[in-house]
């Protein structure tokens, strides 16, 4: 696997995705990537480009290979073929928190950093931002699942990544905390404009957060939808909203009107 850092070269101030200016540098560049487990194909000839500042959501049925794709991008899993270039400055929030049980919260957030990289004040501010004010000296075993996940988020953000890989980071959180986390991720994204790959099962979450929504199925992207409506207008209904929803749900194999979820199709 070739992992290079295309973003290492100095770049001028990167515009946010809302301003149409020269395209920022790539933080993910996959070309014809294949992945099989045994004889089971998971990814087939996948191309993916993510630019710095771009917020990409990845939908897909359970077992469709979303986590596998993320693990390839994180250099935790080798692909079987293709060309892979990924920013070296990346961080990951996994489906589970993966904190070191023998380090306190503060040391977990600083994992892989020197103390000078994240002084106490910044650490305290970061923890406060994820809603864990004063948790520095707690042991991971004393945290609730959602608190652990938020520590993992703080750990990922602490190093100001150029590429942020999130694997269903909020699946374990309650609805309210989840909304706060959405706002937090968006705020931090606007501030540091990393490229984001956000894996989720939730079509609404994907529509709410992303500039671009991909649906992974049968080893490839069955759908690639750009969402240009400003985020502020997405909570309420917007003209094409129902259409985008239906399109994504169809790609996921859910037919309109053939689902138990009363929410689905409500904006149509």
């Amino acid at each position: 696997m070739t992992t290079s850092a295309p973003d290492r070269t100095a770049t001028p101030d990167v515009p946010t995705s809302q301003d149409p200016q020269p395209a920022p540098e790539l933080v993910v560049d996959l070309k014809r990537v294949d992945k099989t487990f045994g004889s089971k194909p998971i990814l087939a000839q996948v191309d993916l480009q993510i630019r710095r500042g771009e917020f990409v959501a990845l939908l897909g049925a359970s077992g469709s290979g979303k986590s596998t794709l993320l693990r390839i991008l994180a250099d935790l899993e080798p692909a079987n073929g293709g060309q892979i270039e990924v920013s070296a400055r990346r961080s990951v929030v996994f489906q589970d928190a993966r904190l070191l049980p023998f380090r306190r919260v503060a040391a977990n957030v600083r994992l892989g950093l020197r103390r000078a990289d994240l002084p106490d004040d910044d650490l305290a501010a970061l923890l406060a931002e994820v809603g864990l004010d004063g948790y520095q000296r707690r042991w991971p075993s004393t945290l609730s699942g959602g608190e652990g996940q938020r520590v993992a988020l703080a750990r990922a953000l602490a190093r100001e990544p150029r590429l942020l890989l999130l694997d269903e980071p909020f699946a374990a959180l309650d609805a309210l905390t989840r909304i706060r986390m959405h706002d937090l991720v968006l705020a931090l994204w606007r501030q540091h404009h990393p490229g984001v790959l956000f894996i989720t099962h939730d079509v609404d979450e994907a529509i709410l957060l992303a500039d671009r929504v991909l649906v992974l199925a049968d080893g490839g992207f069955r759908e690639d939808v750009a969402i240009t409506v400003p985020r502020e207008s997405r909570r309420s209904s917007w003209p094409e909203g129902g259409q985008v929803r239906r399109q994504l749900l169809a790609a996921l194999g859910v037919q309109d009107g053939r689902t138990d979820n009363p929410d689905i199709g409500r904006q149509a």
Binding site: A74, D75, L76, R90, S91, V92, F94, D96, R98, L99, L100, P101, F102, R103, R104, L111, G112, L113, R137, R138, W139, P140, S141, T142, R155, R159
Partner: protein, 276 residues
């Protein structure tokens, strides 16, 4: 399923929100002390009633006196010093060798292939069985004692370290890789601390076997140490001193336990599920 009556329901335990302070003379400790106290009283009763010869079975007070005498004369301190340093040196070697092999074999396939099966074979031989051979090889001096104790201590530490290293949660190792730890960083900052609880379990077992090995080693040729105190007393038929020596061994066993608890408390503060 519908819940009918109360038969489906079980009342679960509740605890007070604030744990009461452990008191020295709390009910729990009194209960724990009951059986030993009763045993000593019975011992006293039987030995002073005249129904058994105090030649063979000394009363507890006599043993206490012998113990006090041993302490007063300084003999116990010297003997204990000698015995403890033997046990300590053997334990230190055993623990170091056990941890080294445990880490290497746990981390590296090659190490495992080369050493593990041989170690497993050697482990099957009880160390006591090796004593006659060791006497021929190393004589009956101080080396012999340390070697016996070392051998006895290696395996509990080796096995537990190996298992601990081998079964570190691979997910946290991945987290370390993702966040840029180097290979030595992953070994020393993740694998080693994560397997520490297991290593400590091994050390706890080793301390127990160190004591056992000490006793056996001191029987071979007791020219100093508690073993000598006991064997000298035995040849003089001073049954009270012999028993006092045994009591000292028992107290050492208890001390081992206390030391280990303390070590675990200091080294594994995260393993206690409580808010600081």
């Amino acid at each position: 399923m519908t819940v009918t009556g109360t038969s489906e329901l079980h009342r679960l335990r509740t605890v007070a929100a604030v744990a009461p302070r452990r008191r020295m003379f709390g009910l729990r400790n009194l209960l724990r002390a009951m059986v030993p106290i009763a045993a000593v009283l019975l011992w006293h009763q039987v030995t002073t009633s005249g129904s058994v010869s105090t030649q063979f079975f000394p009363p507890p007070l006599a043993v206490g006196e012998a113990l006090v005498d041993l302490v007063r004369s300084g003999e116990l301190t010297t003997a204990l010093g000698t015995s403890l340093s033997r046990a300590g040196i053997g334990l230190a070697f055993g623990v170091l060798i056990g941890i080294a092999f445990g880490i290497v074999n746990g981390l590296f396939r090659l190490g495992e292939e080369i050493f593990d099966s041989s170690l497993q074979i050697v482990r099957q031989v009880p160390f006591i069985a090796m004593v006659p051979l060791f006497i021929i090889w190393f004589g009956i001096g101080e080396e012999l004692k340390v070697i016996i104790i070392t051998l006895a201590c290696v395996f509990p530490v080796y096995l537990n370290t190996y298992m601990g290293v081998r079964y570190v949660d691979p997910n946290i190792i991945e987290a370390g890789r993702v966040f840029g730890l180097s290979r030595p960083g992953i070994i020393f900052r993740i694998i080693v601390p994560a397997s520490l609880p297991s290593v400590l379990v091994g050390i706890r077992y080793s301390m127990g076997t160190a004591l056992l090995a000490l006793i056996i080693a001191e029987q071979v040729n007791a020219n100093s140490g508690i073993g000598q105190t006991i064997s000298v007393a035995a040849s003089a038929l001073r049954i009270d001193i012999v028993t006092a020596g045994i009591v000292v061994y028992a107290l050492l066993g208890i001390a081992v336990d206390v030391v280990m608890r303390l070590l675990e408390r200091i080294l594994l503060p995260w393993a206690r599920k409580a808010t600081p």
